[in-house]
Subunit: 204 residues, 2 copies
DNA sequence: CCAAATATCTGTACAATGTAAAGATTAGAG
DNA sequence: CTCTAATCTTTACATTGTACAGATATTTGG
């Protein structure tokens, strides 16, 4: 934050931090490129030199979001071992836990109109998060299947992903208002979502 | 569209139509209040007299969207009767069919930052769509249950809604790019989504 | 039938936004 | 130490939503 002179010193990182702050404080709607520049103590045109455009800066933040999401759906190796079915449930809850903990980031990550949608690193970060689920799907499939039947398009992967993604969005959009009365987000994560996943996911 | 004199005659409806046109042609990102006014052949400040603000106009369009969605998830009474489980699947496919057919409307309906989120008629329209699903859930529950166990928070209702909602969003966001290559949206609606629902929904 | 009240629309104006273009300042390489 | 390239500022412009005051038409009330 300390400006010594004409040059900032670490403007790129400062802008990313400022953007993340805005997302946490005021949500995605609160973000403007000028506000991020203001928080970094810099002129409105400065960010362009580092990120090209507003979408460039937001893309960097979205990449960090996908990395954080991947951490939330990766099962702690030190934890006691779980069956594949149990792991799926834990990962699904981790997905929603991330969305409810960082709504601004979460919304940003899926607003491709605000991002450089074909950015290589963004696609890679999203793919890495998806792979964390695909691995579990692989472990769950019976070995009897001969052909390797691509896990990346396995109905169960698409289904679980869709379910937790939709669930998170609907909760954040207030569509489950009957439920949110009971102290968000604990009740949702501890009671509602597990019940939903139990009703849908295979038991084995 | 024909302006006779100073007054438009049916500006309210014309603005709603213009907005819907924009959503269909350029998506939600293409909408501006001034563009809607332009298409209706009217000054930028005119819409305020009918809708108060941009959010007011968008809210009216979102209400129409929810009504259209309700139609898509309502089973044709003239169709051959289906079991409750089959009906759920048909309704889920109808939900996604609507989202893929009207992406602009669909996105708008869940952007509560753009809408008058507490508008009575908007809430009612959303509730009506939800009820179309809740009825089927009710029919599916075994009669053995004594207490009426509110269908509005039934895990299966929340689960199915979440799944189709997330599925639609992910497809529209291009997250299922491996799949979309195969001529959208037919393949998605006829093959992918049914497989996903078969993997998750109860069979009975 | 005609005045007056009301509804509807225009014109102007303003603060914000993203970003383009050109110039100022500094850092770092040779 | 000089010069080149990177970094940041200043200025500027088109666009947006909408507030405000005035113009015009429609409807109401007598």
């Amino acid at each position: 934050m300390e400006r010594t002179g004409y040059h900032h010193g670490d403007l790129r990182e400062a802008l990313i931090r400022a953007t993340d702050e805005i997302l946490a404080e005021r949500g995605l709607e609160g973000f403007t490129l000028r506000e991020a520049a203001r928080r970094a103590g810099v002129s409105p045109a400065a960010p362009a030199h580092h990120f090209g455009s507003s979408a460039g800066l937001l893309t960097e933040v979205a990449i960090l979001g996908f990395e954080e999401l991947a951490r939330h759906i990766t099962i702690d190796p030190a934890a006691p071992p779980l069956s594949p079915a149990e792991r799926l449930k834990v990962q699904g809850i981790g997905y929603v836990r991330f969305a409810l903990a960082f709504p601004g980031r979460f919304h940003l990550m899926f607003r491709h109109d605000l991002l450089v949608a074909d950015d290589e690193r963004l696609l890679a970060a999203g793919g890495a998060a998806k792979d964390a689920l695909a691995g579990t799907i692989d472990a769950l499939r019976p070995q009897s299947e001969d052909q390797p039947s691509d896990a990346a398009v396995h109905p169960l992967l698409l289904g679980l992903w869709s379910t937790v993604h939709g669930f998170a969005h609907l909760v954040l959009d207030g569509k489950f208002s009957r439920i949110e009365g009971k102290k968000m987000p604990d009740h949702v994560l501890n009671d509602v979502l597990p019940a939903v996943l139990d009703a849908l996911l295979p038991k084995t």
